[in-house]
């Protein structure tokens, strides 16, 4: 039954030949009349067109470990060192590389992963760090840089796809600073149409069927009139709030079509068992499902459970095995479906945790030396980049900041890391600032 649903959905999606043809026509048509489509101008300028043709079909899943996991209990164990904690390390499928014993499944697929052990960033508070590690730059008010998901939705995404291009799966609305961040303007200067569709927890998709007495045609005629009136107003009210309001209506029809994709019950029982019963696992599975069906960027969050100021080891003992299982199945599933080459998986939080323990046996915030992991699209698999010293206090080799990380990610996805945004009345902004270079050793 469930596979029946899946098959039906696949016909609706954006990967097939029909779609590609349609999209090409669409692009050609619009390209000829680019001047009349002001808001899409930057997309249709020649270099951007070339770029998006090349990058088309590339996708990204971000497992957002909000609150910040400990590198010691995951990717960069320091067994038997004073800072190492109680867990040992285990060998992996990469000769000579060890990771925490809490991640045995992931250890068996290390040859598919690309791990950075030398992240080094500045902000040590959640909100500022979440902001930095999702947008790639420090804030510069009043200008709001888009988060990476919005960038990918715009420059990799498929304009005519009913499936939302940027989805935030977030079953848990809590988590002080993350909650505050979620209320901020994610799409920034790209415009609200590139903001996320949120789902999970309180974000249930309701009202996805036609109102009584309205057929499809009535429904879209009515919306066309609404959109005409509403955009007239938006023409002389440039506030992000107004844009954001109009953009949600543009999504309504697509969401009505795509609503079955968000139905957790339509996922195969066997898959659900593999990913585990928790909401994080279920939403990681749903992320795979959405990516398979046409989404470009899916961010899987789950409140901010990783903020282990108290009882770090016990908390990691609970959380890391779940993460281990999810990474293992997600990467394997994408491999089996031959999707890993086009799908980039990012696994990270906003910083790492202190080498030392506090009085509550917690580890505190530590941006100076931390780890993150990636897999898939455009990356060299089986690489462990950078290193920290014997106690994990400082980066000892190949430090990497968020700019170079972002440059690497964009390059891996086929995007020019330094593209200049076309923003009239704005100071010059680039996709990644200061010409930060992508890391060649990480790229395929």
């Amino acid at each position: 039954m469930a596979s029946e649903v899946n098959k039906k959905q696949l016909n609706n999606t954006c990967g097939g030949m029909d779609h590609k043809l349609h999209r090409r026509l669409f692009l050609q048509g619009s390209f000829a009349g680019a001047a009349s489509v002001a808001s899409f101008q930057s997309l249709f300028s020649v270099p951007a067109f070339a770029e998006s043709a090349q990058a088309r079909g590339k996708r990204c899943i971000l497992l957002w470990l909000c609150g910040a996991p400990s590198q010691f209990e995951t990717w960069d164990p320091k067994p038997k060192r004073p800072t190492g904690g109680p867990f040992s390390s285990i060998p992996t499928s990469l000769p000579g590389v060890h990771i925490s014993e809490l991640m045995p499944k992931t250890a068996s697929i290390m040859d598919k992963l690309t791990v950075v052990r030398s992240m080094s960033t500045e902000p040590s508070e959640h909100f500022q760090a979440i902001d930095l590690l999702t947008r790639g730059e420090q804030p510069r008010p009043p200008f709001t840089r888009p988060v990476m998901g919005s960038v990918l939705a715009k420059y990799l995404g498929q304009l005519d796809c009913p499936v939302p291009q940027f989805v935030l799966l977030d079953p848990c609305p809590e988590g002080n600073e993350f909650r505050a961040f979620k209320a901020s303007n994610w799409a920034g200067w790209l415009g609200a149409e590139y903001g996320p569709v949120r789902f999970g927890g309180p974000y249930k998709l309701e009202n996805v069927t036609y109102p009584k007495g309205l057929d499809t045609q009535d429904h879209s005629d009515r919306e066309a009139l609404r959109s005409f009136l509403s955009k007239k107003f938006a023409n002389d009210h440039k506030a992000a709030a107004v844009q954001s309001y109009n953009s949600v209506f543009e999504r309504v029809r697509g969401l009505m079509k795509a609503a079955p994709l968000f139905d957790l019950n339509s996922l195969l029982e066997a898959d659900r068992e593999r990913y585990g019963p928790g909401t994080f696992g279920m939403h990681a599975l749903l992320a795979r499902h959405l990516i398979e069906n046409g989404s470009t960027f899916v961010m899987v969050a789950n409140g901010m459970p990783w903020d282990c100021h108290v009882l770090n080891h016990e908390t990691h003992q609970m959380l890391v095995p779940e993460l281990d299982r999810i990474i293992f199945h997600l990467v394997n599933d994408l491999t089996d479906r031959k999707m890993l080459d086009d799908t980039l998986v990012l696994i990270m939080g906003e910083f790492g945790r202190t080498p030392w323990l506090n009085e509550a046996r917690g580890r505190d915030h530590y941006p100076k030396a931390w780890s993150m992991a990636m897999a898939g699209c455009g990356l060299k698999p089986g690489v462990v980049y950078g290193a920290t010293d014997e106690n994990g206090v400082a980066v000892s080799d190949q430090p990497l900041d968020q700019r170079r990380l972002f440059a690497t990610i964009y390059k891996a996805l086929g995007l020019d890391p330094h593209m200049a945004y076309d923003l009239p009345d704005f100071p010059p902004f680039n996709r990644v600032e200061q010409d930060a270079a992508p890391v060649d050793e990480l790229l395929a």
Binding site: S184, P211, G213, V242, H309
Partner: protein, 563 residues
């Protein structure tokens, strides 16, 4: 005296440089004649442009605000937008002050009014209406306690909280008294019993109380000082967090025959908090600004004994009142006259009217969030306190400022922090719902006015003075496909649409009436043609076409925002 003189000169200058606009505003205060669409010419006398913050408290705040903002526009070389026209102005004050759009007849009477003081007269009339009290009580309820479910809203209402707020606004009770009522929770008369709900709603969780009190009455979020001194705003100490907790940690919810109440114990509530370095500190009674209350701590290990003589309240009473009451100490010695009490309310009401706080976001009045106009905020806070925390006077002043009455139309991106264009504000759930009801005039109002409907709307549109207004797809789906909206905007359920349909008027005049009722303005030529043809091209389904056109207008951004 010198100040006043230079001030009059400034007004005079304004009149000379601009003989245009806003003669209609006139009379009430001299500065409103200075309203102009161009930046006033810089005067030779420096005191003209710099003296505003030296004005004594008690002068017209609208005047001070105008001078301060005009000075900042000059400094930043900004051209403010044109003044809002009469229709826009009217819609704006109706929404901000009584929470709904004006009815067509209210607009017509305003347009026809030739009184030069008609703007201020209408502002005053709205501020004195019962509708204002209802509206502002809803706003304050959402800020002070927050969105909730049907059951909680029922309890909140039954406890008298909503009525308390309504009466406080209706009688224009000083804000410091309202704060005192809510935080002391010992009503001097049974009629104020409802104020207890502010603390009672926190269900005996002193940390939740502390975080709410700090945000609501002091405009400061202290949540993250729970584990350490605030890392970004160094004046917010961990001891303030735990100090504020201590002021409320002897309190306990009780149910009395008079209603929900908050009892207080005379003993206990001593503990130590640890920072991340593991240092322990006793939780003394201290809060921001180092406002401190001395209290004798029992020796460590000593057991305190609860005795009747420690209480003012008679033995056996449910809501106990100790002789040394931490809550009482808090309102007497911390809350009373605390500079943040005035500042937080000024900043919040400013944000309510202007669309953004001088400190943004509104509950971040700390050293990390710089105010856009620090001297102005200080002046207004001082003046607000000196006025006896007069909320209505402040709202009235804000509504009369030039900045408030500017057009929101802008042709390029403008940094909102300078208030050189009116900022569009999303309607709150209640405003949206009430405006729809006023426009469509349902045949069965109770169907749309029910507690369930209110809660559904307020959960779908929870924001009140949000840091950023970001719409979500849930809202788009609700407005597009939701039963309640589609039913309300139907000829079957709406008096207004029935009358339109039955009026036998031309499609063009029907569209005009729709625009007047929903958007408070006539359609422009393009809109008229488009909407008219929408209806005329569907002769066989005319009813549905009328409903669809009405839906298209009511779900457009122009209806959704106060602009």
């Amino acid at each position: 005296m010198r100040l006043m003189l230079s001030f009059q000169r400034s007004a005079l200058l304004g009149c000379l440089t601009c003989l245009c606009s806003f003669a209609a505003l006139g009379g009430e205060d001299i500065l409103s004649t200075n309203v102009t669409s161009s930046i006033p010419v810089e005067s030779n006398s420096p005191s003209v442009s710099t003296a505003w913050y030296a004005q004594p408290y008690g002068v017209d705040p609208a005047m001070v605000i105008d001078l301060a903002l005009e000075a900042s526009w000059r400094t930043h070389q900004l051209q403010p937008t044109a003044p809002a026209d009469e229709r826009v102005f009217l819609r704006r004050i109706y929404l901000d002050l009584i929470g709904r759009i004006p009815r067509p007849q209210e607009t017509q009477s305003f347009l026809a009014d030739t009184d030069v003081n008609k703007r201020i007269l209408r502002i005053d009339a709205l501020l004195q209406s019962e509708a204002h009290a209802v509206h502002l009580s809803e706003v304050l309820d959402a800020i002070l306690i927050g969105r909730t479910d049907t059951e909680q809203l029922r309890r909140r209402t039954a406890a008298g909280w909503i009525d308390y707020l309504k009466r406080a606004i209706d009688q224009n009770r000083p804000w410091n008294e309202v704060a005192r009522d809510a935080l002391l929770a010992r009503p001097s008369s049974p009629i104020d019993q409802g104020a207890n709900w502010y603390l009672y709603a926190r269900r005996d969780k002193p940390q939740e109380i502390a975080e709410a009190v700090s945000k609501d009455f002091f405009g400061v979020r202290i949540d993250c000082a729970q584990c350490h001194d605030h890392p970004l705003a160094s004046e917010i100490k961990q001891q303030h967090y735990w100090g504020l907790v201590a002021f409320f940690n002897r309190s306990k919810n009780v149910d009395t025959p008079e209603g929900p109440a908050v009892s207080e114990s005379a003993i206990g509530g001593f503990s130590e908090f640890s920072n991340l370095e593991g240092d322990s500190t006793p939780n003394e009674l201290v809060f921001l600004g180092d406002r401190r209350v001395e209290e004798t701590r029992p020796a460590s290990g000593a057991k305190e004994e609860d005795r009747d003589e420690l209480y003012v309240s008679s033995p056996g009473s449910t809501a106990r009142v100790p002789k040394f009451s931490r809550r009482e100490q808090f309102v007497e010695r911390v809350l009373d006259g605390h500079p943040l009490l005035a500042k937080a309310m000024v900043n919040r009401l400013w944000a309510w009217m202007m669309g953004r706080g001088i400190v943004h976001p509104v509950d971040a009045i700390d050293s990390y969030h710089a105010p856009s106009h620090p001297e102005l905020l200080d002046w207004l806070a001082g003046d607000f306190a000196a006025s006896g925390y007069d909320v209505r006077r402040l709202l009235r002043s804000l509504a009369r400022t030039r900045a408030y009455q500017l057009s929101s139309k802008e042709d390029a991106f403008v940094d909102p922090q300078w208030f050189s264009a009116a900022i569009v504000k999303p309607l709150t759930a209640e405003m949206l719902q009430r405006s729809m009801l006023v426009a469509f005039d349902p045949i069965e109002p109770s169907q749309w006015n029910s507690l369930e409907q209110r809660v559904m709307f307020s959960n779908a549109f929870p924001d009140v003075i949000a840091e950023e207004s970001i719409s979500n797809v849930t809202q788009g789906l609700l407005l597009t496909n939701g039963d309640s909206v589609n039913d309300l905007v139907s000829i079957k359920h709406s008096h207004f649409l029935q009358t339109l349909r039955d009026s036998k008027s031309s499609d063009a005049s029907l569209i005009r009436l729709l625009f007047e009722a929903l958007l408070n303005r006539p359609p422009d030529a393009e809109e008229l043609v488009r909407c008219e043809s929408f209806i005329s091209s569907r002769p066989e389904r005319r009813d549905q076409a009328i409903e669809s056109a009405a839906w298209a207008i009511v779900s457009s951004a122009e209806f959704r925002f106060n602009h």
